[in-house]
């Protein structure tokens, strides 16, 4: 048939929605070039007959495409409509299946795999390097060049949510002035935001660095860390300090590990931190964090302010003689 260069079947398989979206967008762009007319069906609300209808031969044999999203949720009654079509495909038609993977709707998935569709894997990305490749690809799609530093910074800032990463890349690609996108540009867009947790706040606080502690606290809260997690992280750091303070300096950390219920590296870290803490300072700090914990749980009307005040008290207790 004239003008048909695409496969009759595609299968986007995997749980990472962002990847599936991206692959789908590419396929749709190709289909548009071939002037195909397309129909999208969400499998979860497909009624009996919907799919058969969309797959029925066309009167004028124009180029057509059908996209079935969330194939794993397809109701039992509609499955036969798909399998029947698999036996007798229409050459003017391209069918794109989007399936999240897993065991749900496995029989249908196996039937589809048998007719050898082009499978595009969309598995969840866990490794940093894969995420960087993903971002690099996104920039390429958008026709922009980005430095490796910029890509690393993007992943560091928004790496936990690929969709968010995707939209951030598309925004920066559209808005940044011409030329390669570098780290400074990413910083400008994201103001140095990095993903932080309660433990980062705790580390800065125990080091007595109030400005860094406050900034990390704010960015931890912004990125969705619960205030309770911050108080418990600080409390557990202080607990480590107190436990280690009672031990003999000469004893090796791995010998103490079992007795204190801490990992050797934690003991070494606590020992390093202890150099600028006195018992009195730690006591003051624990009292402050216990008060902050009660405040965060509702004793105070402004939990964030209560936390900031506690950080201030604790950093002031650091280095106190």
């Amino acid at each position: 048939m004239k003008g048909v260069t695409m496969n009759p079947f595609y299968l986007l398989l995997g749980s990472e929605g962002a990847l599936a979206d991206r692959a789908l967008a590419k396929l749709q762009a190709q289909l548009k070039e071939e002037k195909a007319e397309f129909t999208t069906i969400d499998a979860s609300d497909a009624l009996v007959g919907d799919i058969a209808d969309a797959l029925a031969p066309s009167l004028f044999s124009e180029r057509r495409a059908l996209i079935i999203k969330d194939l794993q949720d397809l109701p039992e009654d509609s499955k036969a409509e798909v399998t029947r079509y698999l036996d007798q495909p229409d050459p003017t038609m391209t069918v794109i299946f989007v399936h999240k993977g897993g065991v749900k709707g496995k029989a249908l998935l196996d039937a589809i795999k048998k007719i050898k569709p082009e499978i595009i894997p969309c598995d969840a990305i866990k490794k940093e390097s894969e995420k960087e490749d993903f971002v690099k690809g996104l920039f390429q799609d958008a026709g922009r060049k980005a430095t490796p530093g910029a890509i690393k910074a993007m992943v560091g800032a928004l790496g936990t949510d690929l969709r968010e990463l995707q939209s951030a890349v598309s925004q920066i690609a559209l808005d940044a002035p011409a030329g390669a996108i570098d780290e400074a540009m990413v910083d400008k867009f994201h103001q140095g935001r990095i993903e932080t947790t309660g433990f980062d706040v705790a580390d800065a606080t125990i080091d007595g660095n109030l400005p860094v502690a406050l900034i990390t606290l704010r960015s931890a809260l912004e990125t969705g860390t619960d205030p309770v997690m911050v108080t418990s992280a600080i409390a557990s750091s202080l607990r480590s300090l107190a436990k280690v303070s009672g031990t003999n300096r000469g004893t090796k950390s791995f010998e103490l590990a079992g007795q204190l219920g801490m990992a050797p590296w934690q003991i070494d870290k606590a020992r390093r931190q202890l150099q600028s803490w006195t018992p009195r300072g730690i006591a003051t700090a624990v009292e402050a964090i216990a008060k902050a914990d009660a405040d965060v749980k509702g004793a105070s009307s402004d939990p964030i302010f209560a936390l900031e005040k506690a950080l201030q008290t604790i950093t002031a207790a650091h280095g106190q003689r």
Partner: protein, 385 residues
């Protein structure tokens, strides 16, 4: 003749009033002595709810509360149609529950005498629930009596307490509690005296302590904690010990009960029977029960830590007594020497600060703050000279 009021310990002043009210209620005439709404207040363990239930029994019993007849027994075990005992293990009594209750209490008593509603935790009524009660308490059915229980009058809305006659229970005296433990529970006199003293008038707690060796030993460990705060690491260790012991004590009670409840529910859904196992919905119901049990055990652990903190407070209370030259009413006589030497080494104003710190920590725990951190901070405060 036995009477339901025999079980109330050290509350002679109240028994007299209640017996008068029961006698007046028999005459069928309007009188000052009997009224339609009462509120019982008293410290925990003084027996508010026992007093209210005893009064309910006396009102519906043909023998003025013999404690042995069918009516008396069924009233006590939620089995009497005219006696309603409202008790909650949750955190509050909600307005829906009260509204549902109101439709029932308006009926005339089915067995003749009185319809009695005992509300054991009137302090746990939400504000809207208390307001829903107002009208019913103000103008109850002619044969309906309301008996509310609360720790203090301030725990009940002013609009409610103004409609009730107030009975204040006393903390039973040391001798009274000791006698009950010896005569009722057959506990050796020495042990009874010890248990009565350290539980400060809380009869239930005293009995629990007297019959449980493990509870006594963990209490002993906890009472030593104030003397083991020599260094920062020791203070943190003390906090850990306190939380661990209290958690173990609470779990010892709840684990067994939880397991039984789950087994019973599974049985109700057909587990173990022939066939295909539990009926549909069984797994879900079990899951819900387990969730409920988890919140209950959180509360039990918290209550248990609270009890341990109160025990520690008695150490400082005794120290303060010694510091002010009064050694006769010491609670922890078994630790006399240790307390005296502590009292001599520390100024009395710091003892007061420490008691305040304990009370503040209890308040924070009640607000759901993290137990371990709260105890660590408290121990650091107690470690101060």
């Amino acid at each position: 003749m036995t009477s339901v009021f025999d079980h109330l310990v050290g509350q002679e002043h109240i028994i007299e009033i209640l017996e008068g009210a029961v006698a007046a209620s028999r005459t069928g005439e309007e009188s000052q002595e009997m009224t339609h709404a009462w509120v019982f207040t008293g410290p925990p363990g003084s027996g508010r709810s026992s007093a209210a239930v005893a009064f309910a029994q006396a009102l519906i019993c043909p023998n003025n509360g013999c404690g042995t007849c069918n009516d008396c027994n069924s009233a006590k075990t939620h089995g009497h149609p005219d006696v309603e005992i409202i008790r909650t293990e949750g955190l509050s009594i909600k307005v829906e529950e009260v509204r549902e209750l109101l439709t029932r209490v308006a009926w005339a008593p089915s067995m003749g005498g009185w319809r009695v509603v005992v509300m054991e935790d009137a302090d746990r009524l939400t504000e809207s629930a208390a307001n829903a009660l107002l009208k019913a308490i103000e103008e109850p059915g002619t044969r309906t009596v309301w008996l509310l229980c609360a720790p203090t009058l301030h725990d009940v809305l002013p609009t409610i307490r103004s409609r009730c006659r107030h009975l204040q229970l006393r903390t039973p005296s040391l001798e009274a509690v000791t006698n009950v433990l010896i005569n009722r529970d057959h506990i050796a006199p020495g042990m009874a005296d010890f248990a009565a003293r350290v539980s400060q008038g809380h009869i239930g707690r005293a009995k629990y302590l007297a019959i449980n060796e493990s509870v006594r030993s963990s209490r002993k460990t906890i009472m030593q904690l104030p003397l083991q705060l020599g260094s920062l690491a020791a203070a943190f260790q003390a906090a850990q010990t306190l939380v661990d012991l209290a958690t173990a004590e609470a779990n010892a009670v709840s684990d067994e009960r939880d397991e039984k409840e789950v087994e019973k529910l599974q049985e109700a859904y057909g587990k173990g029977a022939t066939g295909r196992g539990m009926a549909t919905g069984g797994a879900k119901a079990v899951k819900e029960l387990e969730k409920e049990q988890k919140s209950r055990s959180t509360r039990m652990v918290r209550d248990s830590i609270d009890g341990a903190l109160l025990d520690i407070a008695t150490f400082y209370r005794d120290a303060m007594m010694v510091q002010s030259g009064n050694i006769d009413s010491m609670i922890n006589t078994d630790m006399r020497e240790q307390i005296e030497s502590y009292a001599a080494s520390s100024p009395s104003h710091s003892t007061i600060n420490k008691i305040n710190a304990i009370m503040e920590a209890r308040e924070n725990l009640a607000r759901n703050s993290a137990p371990l951190v709260t105890c660590e901070a408290l121990m650091c405060q107690l470690a101060r000279k």
